[in-house]
Symmetry: C2
Subunit: 487 residues, 2 copies
């Protein structure tokens, strides 16, 4: 049984920050002259109060020095903090004018904080600014949280081959964790801030209002996908704006840590990276396929076809979920391609979701290696990844992840079908939420649809799937093992 | 570049046997008084003639002793013999009264010999006995071929974790291969014959005509699924016959080699086997789920629900493909379950297709092992399978197989969608053919449907997928590597 006190302390601090940040949308609504600021202040008070209570309950006794976290506590903290933040971040959606039900509000908050971007709110164009900003803020903070988690916590937890990224920057010895953690978080924070500034200014220069530019920036660099309009980027229908969005969505799905050496004059670290190159190639291949498909099928021609293919591909494979066209009307071939892209996702160490490119590469290496072993049974071969040896143990670890990923996908898809959805809707929604992409396919959850018509049980399943996908499955699943709770 | 002469010799002998066996359906048609016997004799002549030509071309020079096969030749022989036998086995379907087109005839032959059981022939109840018997014979011989291949050749080729079954019975040293091969084939042949005799007698005793009993026996013990009626077992609508079929389909999907010690008084080898136990559990679980589902959904009640659930589950998971009810009408939940079952398949070393139970178990062990490693980072753990250590290299080998299996499934499904099929039809047909199950889902390829309405390109894709599934993917894929053909 892990000691709960340190967890209470950390989550308490997080809730205080979360509650304090609810005053920002309150200010916007107050300035706008609508009464939603009251709902935000009420939520803020509840959240800050709970936060203080948890901090008090978690304080170490005076005669005892503060302790580091052990492995079990780290696992528990990771899942628990995501759940707690989502629950409290959902409060405003219940109290302000959108008046969501409890499952819908939690879905919206989890969708925001996990940077999925599926929404149950209809009529975004008429929604008060505070709510729109709050959704953006959740995605922006969630994006930052994911990157820090992917670089610092997950390699320690050795989840699904993440130990590949276990370098000196994430050493297991406890004394080293905290200082390095702060240092890396600061570097990532700077990169994320710089990217955000550049993105917001570009959107603004391309014709968005300052408010729209800021909210969309928050949903872009975090590859989240919440918009201020039901029509997403179709509302602006601007090729320049689309190009800007493509650029920043793509950048958001790259390993952010690699920007650091790139900025310091070593761009080869970023562009020479195996994962980045594969990611670029895969995105280009899918864009080309969808361009040819639209042209050949008589849907769109020439530059239009390329524009829609590139935007839709980048939007889905980076797991953002914006749209500049209703690609849900492109038929079953496009639907299959989009579901595959939802499952693939972006690079590790980015804000993107999905199975992740590096895992695909490792599986590819496993096939290559097996073929070599088959053909030269007496040879000894070691696969390599990013110029480092790739051990069978890492491959086996990615295998475990793949198996759980498929099981979770199949189980949530079948559960949704049992709860009354048709197969396309159910399995695309499962793929989209486990990959944290956003929209599914079909009339209900497709790019032109909305999750608001789903029933409460369906919403709970999808909420769980988003959380599982975001926390890379194993982080959550270990908590359900009796062994985890034994001494 | 491998030396072709020994391959020519072996395939030549196979074709002579194949051609000679075409006289059996010729006799049946002659006795029946229809003129199809001419088509069979023509096919027989062409096949035997080609066989002799290949044997002559492949004879070693007089001054040279006959040689064993090296690894590359073994790979090439495996794929090539399946293709050549299928092509020549397709000849009767072109020349007799069913008059199939070339792609349809090859599809039917591959479907038979790979024990898939999908058919393009409509009106089986009125089809001459020779053709029905030929389809049965193909499945029966194919089933035998697969078991021998799975025990002798595939472990040598180390395909997808098959090295687990690489015991002293499949030693790599070339001197040992042939005698052991003959010995094992003889044991398997005896078991297979015994099972066939028992099955045919049971079917006959349960009310089938002698001819129907023999053809269905051939399609049952091989988990093939060809019937003499368009309505499959619905034609008899007999609970006793259904129970007999359930029993023998299930036995056919067990590792046949394990019957040997079981017969000799050590049944624990069979029933205590990890794979067999897991197989039994999975089948029981799916049966229970589908029983409850039918009852709850008001489709069928009580024993009827259990009867239909058990038959359909065993039929699909053993990759047989018989039906005693049109489960295609059970809606999307059942459809999802059936597609999952098609992909899973039976035990290794049996006539069943699919991903195979032992691979699922190895993936499960990989997850277990990873969780242990995560929770006790300093411990050293070795997974075990069937009381033997399971090395990371084996897991990595299964990983490669899983990855290729998923890629092949997704690629063939998407190709079928691009060729004009709807998603349910396309992906269920892909799952059904790669798993060698037989029927897909949906109105076209579902249990009550027929593959005859598919276009030639769609038929070619499915023919390829059946072959790939049957030869465990890698056996075929290595042939497309430039490296394979280099010296």
């Amino acid at each position: 049984m892990p000691e709960f006190r340190p967890l209470s302390l950390v989550i308490g601090y997080m809730l205080i920050v979360l509650g304090a940040s609810m005053t920002i949308p309150a200010l916007f609504d107050f300035a706008d002259g609508n009464r939603d600021w009251q709902g935000f202040l009420l939520s803020s008070a509840l959240t800050v109060f709970t936060g203080f209570a948890l901090v008090l309950a978690g304080r170490p006794p005076i005669d005892q020095a503060p302790q580091g976290l052990n492995l079990r506590q780290a696992f528990l903290l990771t899942s628990l903090s995501w759940v707690m933040i989502s629950v409290f971040a959902a409060l405003p959606f219940i109290f302000v004018s959108v008046r969501l039900t409890v499952p819908d509000a939690i879905f919206e908050a989890v969708s925001g904080f996990s940077t999925t971007g599926s929404t149950v709110i209809v009529g975004l164009d008429l929604t008060p600014p505070g709510t729109l900003l709050w959704r953006g803020l959740l995605q922006w903070a969630g994006g930052m949280g994911i990157v820090v988690m992917a670089i610092t916590v997950l390699p320690l937890l050795q989840v699904g081959g993440m130990q590949l990224f276990h370098t000196e920057s994430s050493d297991r010895s406890e004394e080293k964790i905290l200082p390095r953690l702060t240092q890396i978080s600061r570097a990532i924070g700077l990169i994320y801030l710089g990217l955000s500034l550049a993105c917001a200014l570009t959107f603004w220069a391309c014709g968005m209002s300052a408010f729209d530019a800021i909210v969309h920036m928050m949903a872009t660099v975090s590859t989240g996908g919440f918009s201020t309009s039901d029509k997403s980027f179709m509302n602006w229908d601007s090729p320049v704006l689309d190009m800007a969005a493509i650029l920043f969505m793509f950048l958001g799905a790259l390993p952010l840590m690699l920007f650091w050496p790139a900025i310091r004059g070593k761009p080869s670290n970023l562009f020479g990276n195996t994962q980045v190159m594969a990611y670029f190639t895969i995105t280009a291949a899918f864009t080309a396929a969808l361009t040819v498909f639209q042209w050949y099928g008589g849907i769109h021609e020439g530059w239009q076809a390329l524009r829609y293919a590139a935007f839709s591909t980048v939007s889905i494979i980076t797991s953002t979920g914006f749209m500049n066209v209703d690609y849900g009307l492109w038929g079953p071939f496009a639907t299959s391609i989009f579901v595959v892209m939802m499952l693939i996702g972006g690079c590790s160490g980015s804000t993107a979701g999905g199975f992740k490119i590096f895992r695909l590469q490792i599986l590819y290496r496993a096939v290559e290696n097996q073929i070599r072993r088959i053909m030269y049974p007496n040879g000894i071969f070691t696969a390599r990844y990013n110029e480092r040896p790739l051990h069978d143990a890492t491959i086996s670890s990615v295998t475990g992840f793949l198996f759980l990923y498929l099981l979770t996908f199949a189980a949530s898809g079948i559960t949704l079908v049992a709860l009354g959805l048709d197969m396309t809707t159910a399995f695309s929604a499962a793929a989209s939420t486990i990959g944290n992409a956003g929209p599914g396919m079909g009339p209900i959850v497709g790019p032109a649809g909305n999750f608001s018509t789903l029933s409460a049980p369906q919403i709970w399943v999808l909420t769980l799937t988003m959380l599982l996908g975001r926390l890379e499955l194993l982080t959550v699943y270990v908590l359900f093992l009796p062994r985890f709770w034994r001494h």
